[in-house]
């Protein structure tokens, strides 16, 4: 049950990403086309000419801001998608865990081998050292 809910929410999230992408791209395109259209010189207007020019100026400013906003929204979308991918890319995480555990295991094995070799060397040396130590007369000073 929870699995289906998660799948649904994931689907909804992906759809929302898709929708955001389309909306932003559409917003950039529409605003650009509108700005180009506003660049035409019109002969007959029902409003005053100065008013019309002010309106065109304001409209261009707003539309260019909208384009910038849509571009930044696209960047945010990219960031969100990256974040989503990083947080939900379980195969990659599993691979990393496997790799890390393999590395740790190898290292553990290497360390174990070194320790065993060291133990063997120390055991052999210690035996001789013990022989020498216990047969010497300098036990008091040595200890």
């Amino acid at each position: 049950m929870s699995g289906s809910k998660q799948t649904q929410s994931k689907e909804a999230l992906l759809k929302s990403y898709n929708k955001r992408l389309k909306d932003d791209v559409k917003s950039i395109l529409d605003n650009f086309l509108e700005i180009v259209k506003l660049g035409q010189v019109e002969d007959e207007t029902q409003v005053d000419r100065i008013t019309h020019l002010e309106e065109v100026h304001f409209q261009m400013s707003v539309r260019s801001h909208n384009m910038v906003r849509a571009a930044e929204s696209l960047l945010k979308l990219v960031s969100d998608v990256k974040q989503y991918l990083i947080l939900n890319d379980f195969p990659s995480v599993n691979e990393a865990i496997t790799l890390n555990s393999q590395m740790a295991r190898n290292r553990c094995q290497q360390v174990d081998q070194k320790l065993i070799a060291l133990r063997d060397d120390i055991a052999a040396d210690l035996y001789e050292l013990e022989e020498d130590y216990y047969s010497s007369i300098f036990k008091d000073s040595a200890k």
Partner: protein, 680 residues
């Protein structure tokens, strides 16, 4: 052509014609009737049409429509009296004049209406103004777009640097830590729940994007696949305040302690900063280091809480004592195992950790008497902070206490505990899941004891207490053997410790030899050290189990040394050709030994006229006596064939070994035997 004159006939119109052809003419019109007839012929509609151009007049269309109406009304509207139409026209004219008068009056007053000139058509505006305005608008729009693009480019260029890429750091973080997105935040988990931990503690940390570029000097070598360098991290982690700082489990073995709970020591100042990098505030610590420290704190807390829980539930003769952040358990009479949780906050004002004072904790090398304590202390393995060279004197004294044996065991035990407590993978609809051993119990035919082992588990505290007991007993055994080896010059005691040990079992082989006579005799015994007991396997195969009291081992060793002397003399006599008359390992005659029993051997010279008695006791030492036969000559008879059966020894005389030449006892015996043999 002559003009034809058309005149109205001066005859009246015929109004009636009778049947007889008589015409009845109308009477001629009077003057008034003629005037009305002429007036009727005036067409006022033409006047109305001509006045449509006047202000306030009707439009042409309206006039036509009115004319049509009038034409339509003409046949049906007959004037009632002759000058009716004239009156109507005049009245209309009067009405219009009145309206005009009113209008003029209002305009004149200028209160409600003002007359103005009719606007003439505007001249066509000049297009270059419009062009300029549009150009300005477009340049403004392009400026805004350029600014936005520049901002995006700068942000992208900062992202392009791999050292400050938030997502790259997040990817590294994700590969090592558990992360999930909760609402708009990224939350990570430090707990060990994935490996079976049920510790209820706030272990969540939050990942945010750091706005300021902080230069870090943390070596990134701890990260897999990264090289040590000075890097910037665009990622910031926020751990719970109770997990900040550094922590470790302190384990030591102490002797006697009235002041077990009262002697406490505030954490040394230097210890708090051991983990932290020098000149680095906790906020600028690298996230990997910070998370590792926090997880280590969590691990120590979980381990200590588990130990404390077990200590409360543990049934022992002397129950363990849990006070604040310390657990004290009695492992031997007068010997205590102390486990403490030390946690230092980065903020010194919050540092409230405490340690038991180490002044009566002895290090391994300072055992000065039998039964004295040894000390092991543990440190944190993940953060080897004791390698720092900037430690104070108090810390360096603590450093000497750390041998990491019990700490390492504790960590290993807890790891195995977590691993064993995590349920095996099983179907969710399975009602119970059996222990893996129980699944194979049937096919492998396990007995009851083995089955019981699968359901009974030793607690962590019990295991660490056993290891501490073994550790302590091993060190004390080593100390006893070394002390005896130092004390005894003859014979020599060699001890060889076996390095193939388990945490609760170790083994030592003890050789007792006489210097220079190694090939003659060598007494070997093996001592196995367990948690609370020793097991000795002697040369003759006897197995003795000793308690943890050191005196028992000492007595055993002394007995073995005493027996070694008699056995050495016995073996050596074979080389010298002497005959062993009798040998008694447990002598029942003579003065009683305080411990154990003396052994004795009687030797006869090859000639049979000299005898040596060697008596060796664990406490009294070795005494040698000689006896000689009184007669030097021998005459064989039928009964006594050999000389040795004829010579009976006389009185025993003790030899003063101290005055004899020789490095050790066997050398002196050799000299003595040679001398006695030579006297023959």
């Amino acid at each position: 052509m002559t003009d034809i004159r058309l005149e109205v006939a001066s005859e009246n119109a015929i109004s009636e014609i009778h049947y007889d052809g008589h015409e009845v003419r109308q009477p001629p019109l009077s003057m008034s009737e003629q005037l009305s007839q002429f007036a009727r012929r005036i067409d006022f509609s033409a006047v109305e049409n001509g006045g449509s151009d006047e202000p306030g007049g009707k439009t042409g269309e309206d006039a036509e429509s009115m004319e049509d109406d009038e034409e339509e009304e003409k046949p049906c509207q007959q004037p009632h009296w002759p000058l009716e139409s004239v009156r109507n026209k005049i009245r209309n004219a009067h009405t219009e004049i009145c309206v005009l008068h009113d209008l003029l009056q209002m305009v004149k007053e200028k209160k409600y209406l003002v007359l103005d000139l009719v606007q003439t058509p505007q001249p066509q505006p000049k297009l270059y103004i419009q062009f300029l305005s549009l150009k300005k608008s477009l340049s403004n729009a392009s400026g805004i777009l350029m600014q936005g693009a520049e901002r995006i480019r700068s942000s992208q260029s900062s992202i392009a640097r791999p050292s400050s890429d938030f997502h790259l750091d997040l990817l590294r973080l994700r590969k090592n830590w558990k992360l999930k997105k909760v609402a708009a935040n990224i939350v990570g988990d430090l707990s060990y729940s994935a490996v079976g931990s049920n510790f209820k503690h706030n272990s969540f940390f939050e990942v945010t994007k750091s706005d300021d570029d902080v230069t870090l000097t943390t070596p990134l070598s701890a990260l897999p696949g990264s090289s040590p360098s000075i890097g910037r991290s665009s990622l910031r982690v926020t751990v719970p305040p109770e997990l900040e700082g550094s922590a470790y489990i302190f384990v030591c073995i102490r002797k006697d302690e009235e002041d077990l709970c009262s002697a406490q020591l505030n954490m040394l100042d230097g210890l708090a900063t051991l983990n932290a990098q020098p000149n680095m505030s906790p906020s600028t610590e690298h996230w990997q280091q910070k998370l590792e420290n926090a997880q280590n704190v969590l691990f120590c807390k979980e381990l200590f809480s588990q130990l404390a829980r077990e200590a409360v539930a543990l049934r022992m003769d002397i129950p363990p004592l849990v006070v604040a952040n310390q657990i004290a358990a009695t492992i031997f009479p007068g010997i205590h195992l102390l486990i403490a949780l030390c946690h230092s906050h980065p903020d010194s004002s919050r540092s409230r950790s405490s340690l038991t004072a180490p002044h009566n904790v002895l290090s391994n090398g300072t055992i000065n008497e039998l039964g004295s304590s040894s000390t092991t202390a543990s440190s944190n393995t993940s953060t080897d902070h004791h390698s720092s060279s900037s430690l104070g004197g108090g810390v360096s004294s603590l450093k000497n206490l750390h041998d990491k044996v019990l700490e390492h065991s504790l960590h290993q035990l807890f790891h195995s505990y977590l691993k064993s407590s995590s349920p095996m993978p099983h179907p969710v609809y399975a009602p119970l899941h059996a222990h893996p051993t129980r699944r194979v119990a049937g096919p492998q035919g396990l007995d009851r004891q083995q089955l019981m082992q699968t359901v009974t588990h030793e607690t962590l505290l019990e295991q660490i207490i056993k290891e501490a007991q073994h550790n302590f007993l091993r060190l004390r055994t080593m100390f006893v053997i070394d002390q005896l080896a130092k004390e005894l010059k003859d014979p020599l005691i060699f001890s060889h410790w076996n390095l193939f040990n388990s945490p609760t079992q170790s083994c030592v082989r003890i050789n007792i030899v006489t210097q220079g006579f190694d090939s003659v005799i060598r007494t070997t015994l093996v001592v196995q050290v367990f948690e609370r007991s020793l097991r000795c396997v002697c040369r003759d195969g006897r197995v003795m189990t000793l308690s943890f009291e050191p005196q028992e081992l000492l007595n055993l060793l002394r007995c073995q040394v005493a027996q070694h002397q008699t056995a050495a003399v016995q073996s050596f006599s074979k080389l010298m050709g002497w005959t062993v008359n009798c040998s008694e390992p447990c002598l029942g005659v003579g003065s009683a030994e305080p411990l154990g029993s003396a052994s004795a051997v009687v030797l006869t010279s090859p000639a049979g006229n000299k005898q040596i008695l060697v008596r060796s006791g664990p406490c009294t030492g070795v005494s040698v006596s000689v006896a000689a036969a009184p007669r030097n000559d021998f005459y064989p008879s039928a009964v006594v064939h050999e000389r040795r059966w004829d010579q009976l020894p006389g009185a025993w005389q003790e030899v003063r070994l101290d005055s004899m030449e020789g490095r050790n006892f066997l050398a002196k015996i050799e000299l003595l035997m040679a001398a006695l043999t030579a006297q023959n």
